[in-house]
């Protein structure tokens, strides 16, 4: 009941006209980001951070804006899956399987409408799960000591590659690089200058916002330049809406199953939205059995992965809000916003910044309603935007990134730094070094070092304290499994996912 009271307070925050306006704006921009070619959710949220920062938005408004963008991007990803058979982002991959065949049969409008409804149901279920689970987890997390936190951070890095990740060693290397970058600057506990080489700009450390924008936005531009995919796509015809009430009612159990499964895989470390939509789709196929026409445009094949992926995106907020440990790239970028607003993420946030946490959660609920309302009538508009050629779009996005970074500090030094990060990001992506652990390392590095220090001071220099308590031990074991499992299970799962894609006769 206590939770309900907090949620009401959250609604009071989120429903002020000012915040509501930003939620609407965020939902709209998020859908755009999700459906535009070459702008993933993590990328889009990253570009908006400096803008939210320079606008001087109050913390709760800034967070509401970015969470709405996040939720919106998950909605937007499905549009190009259905119409073009090209997933807007990775979790939208499974939506292609039945979404595209539906579009080919001239039922694109139906697929878009039903997937918007499924996204809404998934998002709603996920948010309800978040409301129920987050306070409990936050209370539990209050019992964590520094040693447990240290182990938890390791767990976050170990599982970030995900079950489907390719080479765990590259995840480790990326995480180490990110944490190393975060050690540049004056050491907080002793005041020693580390790796500053006497350069004044480095004394305060490297601003992670410009690193994030550089790594994501600039490297994306370079990738597009290289692949020369500048041309736009042909205009799409959506057709008329023929969806019947009966069909919609038929999909309700699918929506529930997909949303719940998605939420669970969103909360679990290392699973994420891609696995959420994959599991939802596979389970749906099993449940429906031979009666379904999966792969040939079965409506439930569109509903299941969409509900799953949106449930997962709300689920992924649970570890980010309660533990301060994000489980995905986009939630890592949201964490960056929190840190730069001077809010310490973690269980204490639920007591110290209750208005922000519950404001964000309420905004997520409102955002889902807004998104549903936006997505059904405006789908034609978003579809038109799909044909905007990247050759115009990406230079403008790059320019916006420049403006954002420049307006934080009014220093061109930061711009060169951002370009340098972009070039580094390009090479790292070419070498298949994942960028998300780097970002997470940048963000969590200082906290990790602080907790290591505290733990060792408390134990008088005895290193075994780091794995002595049963909880810490458990976290170490899961972290170890997170690194080893991808070796054993990863190839199998990836083969299944590919097989599911190939079974589909229309992959042209």
């Amino acid at each position: 009941m206590e939770t309900l009271g907090f949620l009401m307070d959250g609604f009071a925050v989120a429903l002020t006209p000012y915040n509501l306006m930003f939620a609407l704006f965020g939902a709209f921009v998020g859908t755009l980001i999700g459906c535009l070619p070459g702008l993933g959710p993590a990328n889009g949220v990253a570009i908006l951070i400096p803008l939210a920062f320079t606008l001087g938005l109050p913390p709760e408004t800034a967070m509401i804006l970015l969470t709405s963008v996040y939720a919106g991007a998950m909605y937007g990803g499905r549009i190009s899956s259905i119409l073009l058979n090209i997933p807007g982002d990775e979790p939208a991959m499974m939506t292609c399987l039945d979404g595209y065949p539906m579009a080919q049969k001239g039922r694109a409008a139906d697929a878009l409408a039903v997937s918007a409804i499924a996204s809404f149901a998934g998002g709603l279920i996920g948010t309800i799960g978040l409301i129920m689970l987050a306070p409990v987890l936050a209370k539990f997390a209050l019992t964590f000591g520094p040693a447990e936190y240290f182990a938890l951070f390791l767990l976050a890095f170990a599982t970030l590659g995900g079950i489907t990740g390719k080479n765990p060693v590259k995840t480790v290397v990326a995480a180490a690089l990110g944490i190393m970058i975060s050690t540049v600057g004056i050491d907080i506990s002793t005041g020693t200058q580390r790796y500053t080489f006497g350069v004044l700009e480095l004394y305060e450390g490297i601003d992670f916002i410009l690193a994030i924008v550089g790594l994501f936005a600039i490297s994306e531009l370079l990738f597009f330049v290289e692949s020369r995919m500048g041309r736009g796509r042909d205009k799409m015809n959506v057709g008329k809406l023929t969806l019947t009430m009966k069909e919609l009612v038929m999909t309700i159990p699918t929506q529930l199953r997909g949303g719940i499964l998605g939420f669970i895989s969103g909360v679990l470390p290392g699973a994420g939205a891609s696995l959420g939509s994959f599991i939802s789709y596979t389970l749906e196929k099993q449940v429906v059995g031979k009666k379904g026409k999966f792969g040939e445009g079965d409506i439930r094949g569109v509903v299941a992965p969409e509900a799953g992926n949106n449930g997962a995106s709300s689920g992924a907020l649970v570890p980010m809000l309660t533990l301060g440990v994000p489980g995905s790239g986009t939630t890592a970028v949201l964490l960056a916003m929190l840190i730069s607003l001077n809010i310490t993420p973690g269980p204490l946030m639920f007591t110290q910044n209750a208005d922000i946490v519950w404001g964000v959660i309420a905004a997520l609920l409102i955002g889902n309603v807004l998104l549903l309302v936006l997505n059904i009538p405006l789908v034609g508009f978003f579809v038109k935007l799909l044909s905007v050629p990247p050759m115009y779009l990406l230079p403008i996005v790059t320019m916006v990134a420049f403006v954002g970074i420049y307006s934080i500090s009014h220093s061109t030094f930061d711009l060169y730094f951002m370009v340098a990060f972009g070039v580094a990001g390009y090479f790292l992506r070419k070498l298949e070094i994942p960028l998300v652990p780097i970002i997470l390392g940048l963000l969590l590095g200082p906290e990790m070092e602080k907790n290591l220090g505290h733990a060792l001071v408390l134990s008088d220099g005895d290193w075994s304290v780091l794995w002595e308590s049963p909880l810490a031990m458990g976290l170490w074991i899961v972290a170890g499994l997170g690194l080893i499992l991808p070796y054993l299970v990863g190839p199998l799962l990836r083969r299944r996912m590919n097989a599911a894609m190939k079974e589909n006769p229309v992959s042209d």
């Binding site: 320079t54 606008l55 390719k166 080479n167 060693v169 590259k170 480790v172 290397v173 180490a176 690089l177 944490i179 190393m180 050690t183 050491d187 506990s189 002793t190 005041g191 020693t192 580390r194 790796y195 531009l221 370079l222 597009f224 330049v225 290289e226 020369r228 500048g230 041309r231 050629p389 990247p390 050759m391 115009y392 990406l394 230079p395 403008i396 790059t398 320019m399 916006v400 420049f402 403006v403 420049y406 307006s407 061109t412 711009l415 060169y416 370009v419 972009g422 070039v423 390009y426 070419k430 070498l431 298949e432 070094i433 990790m448 290591l452 220090g453 060792l456 001071v457 008088d460 220099g461």
Partner: protein
Amino acid sequence: MTGLGDRILGLGLLVLAVAYGWAAQQWPEPFGGAETVGPETFPTILAVVLAAGSLYLMVKPDPDAQWPLGKSAFELVVALVVLVVYALLLEPLGFVIATTLAVGTLSWRMGAAPKPAFITGLLSAVVVFVLFNYGLSLSLPAGLLEVH
């Protein structure tokens, strides 16, 4: 030899790890005497982890990626030069002119015809400039267009 990219990367990272770890040992002892966790403890751990990872990459590299050659490589260098020059000229030329040139050149090199490319650049520059300077009252450099 296959996996050359990863081997070179591994070598580079190993050099980085050694340099990083070595630098950490050079710092003077902090004021108040050494503790169990000094400023060098954490970087030393990181250096070891990175060194181990880089050795693994050199021993068991992944297959190579497709690296751009010829024209694509040239276009990448052009894009990069545009970005650096954009940062360089942003303040002296002012936002509108620098942006028109940068966005225009990038669009053009990505395959747009020159005229629409530079018109896109000009339009986006003016819109963002007006929005920031008048709408959000964040000042972007006016440069040459400044009215004295």
